[in-house]
Symmetry: C2
Subunit: 299 residues, 2 copies
């Protein structure tokens, strides 16, 4: 089984019924279109936490229908994030969506011991791309959270990502570890990490996926390029997930696909026990909508 389109995530989301989603600092006009569309599609039931007057004003501007939607009034953004985290902890919300607040404030509230729903404390960013130049959805970790992950952190990032594939029914995703070249060079840490991650997979310490690398990007996504390099690997040219060396390359690849590659993406932060949806203002409404669908689909 493979996911080919972001619409596949919407279809899965629809099959899950209506899920409770909490928006932290919800007076965000750039979010309301996507949120309204997700509610209309029947897969979310939003709880809006924030300044109720501002929420009402932004809803009016964007024609967002507030009828029947729960609003919790709170003006202090740190407290808003606490409320959202507590709703999740009590099982009253299954997804967190970041509104007009810094990502770090949301994640900090969810990481506090009394709010945590998962023993795991490594959050990581995961994005799915629908690209006109690839034959299925292409996953990427990490474009937004981990600056310079250690080998241990990469192991956890891969586990976070593999859990997503399993939840979506892809039981053995192909994981390509990216670097600048296809061979181990001790001066390029990403190649050393790649060799170690591949070995950990072979030894059964990272399970539920097939890991290979190091790959230059072309060999991970193009069988043509892999053939010319003489690379014989089931992952080559058919990767489900790309693991980038560190934040710069992850973010640059994310932006390259979206802004110079004709792709659309859906992204979440994973590892917190429940999916966290972050969207930036410059993301398209479509991308925001697909991100919410993605979060529901993986529940």
């Amino acid at each position: 089984m493979a996911l080919r389109k972001l619409q596949d995530l919407v279809d899965i989301a629809r099959s899950k019924g209506r899920r409770r989603l909490v928006v932290a600092v919800a007076q965000d006009e750039y979010l309301m279109d996507a949120l309204g569309y997700a509610a209309k599609n029947g897969f979310v039931d939003p709880i809006l936490v924030g300044d109720k007057y501002e929420i009402a004003r932004k809803a009016e501007i964007t024609n967002f229908d507030l009828k029947g939607i729960e609003i919790i009034h709170e003006t202090d953004t740190t407290e808003v994030c606490q409320i959202a985290a507590r709703l999740v902890k009590r099982g009253e919300a299954e997804i967190v969506v970041k509104g007009l607040v810094k990502t770090s404030t949301v994640l900090k509230a969810m990481l506090e011991r009394e709010n945590r729903v998962s023993e795991n404390t490594l959050f990581s960013h995961f994005a799915f791309f629908e690209s006109p130049y690839y034959h299925k959805l292409l996953g990427l970790t990490d474009a937004a959270v981990n600056i310079a992950p250690t080998l241990d952190e990469k192991v956890q990032m891969i586990r976070n990502a593999v859990d997503i594939y399993h939840r979506l029914g892809i039981m053995n995703p192909k994981v390509g570890i990216l670097a600048a070249i296809e061979v181990v060079n001790e001066r390029i840490e990403s190649t050393v990490h790649a060799a170690a991650l591949k070995q950990l997979n072979l030894e059964g310490k990272i399970t539920g996926c097939t890991i290979d690398g190091p790959f230059a990007l072309d060999n991970a996504v193009s069988t043509f390029a892999a053939k010319y390099k003489g690379i014989d690997s089931s992952v080559a040219g058919d990767a489900d997930l790309l693991v980038t060396p560190e934040l710069n390359s992850g973010n640059i690849l994310y932006k390259s696909l979206n802004f110079l590659g004709g792709a659309i993406s859906a992204a979440i932060i994973t590892g917190a026990g429940v999916p966290v949806v972050l969207t930036s203002r410059s993301d398209s409404d479509k991308s925001k909508f697909f991100s919410i669908a993605f979060a529901v689909a993986m529940l």
Copy 2:
């Protein structure tokens, strides 16, 4: 003035007349199509150095017409590179094209004191992309040579690149320094370098260009994204040149544009006094041809 298409480089190359180009270890069947096409277009006059029997055999396979082409017979690849470097030093060749030999062997020969034609000893990789998602040719440095450039090395890489723009008639290229975010974060070296490079440009220590950054990629290439972030910069959304933080991100961006972005590229190594054309087997024949045209255009 702006360059919009790689064909513009071909047009400039044609205006330069026929230039002498030396191919080091020329028995490379993957190069011959592009080389033959460049010769037919009238802008190069190749000298082939390598095993003349193998050259003849590969030429036959690929229908490459050897009539009137100078061949220097040498089977030892290190010696082949020495011959190529000496031809350049004596002014008998103006461009070096890497054939079936490691890049490092070619560059090492050119770096030897008696072969050098430039005081500068920092080589860097420069690529032009023609992308369906950008309004002009987009330059990138460095996708292939410098692993983890220091600030000083980035200054030289930018000087190497700016020299190319000036040679092509673009006298004030817009240079965007890429990172993962748009603000300085002392934990992300690329953002610190970006601020320093911008300042060096303002102080007149890097001239002939306008430098700005740090930019996440979207802000450098999309006025829409830059507007949403509130970025006011003449470089934002209109960059001529992108400077990547280090090799991983440079190589991943290069491959992303070519393999997941529908772009075609032309690339050279600059800083050696004469352009060096490296093409990899998986590059398309078009891309190889444009790279040769690019090298001639900048003479």
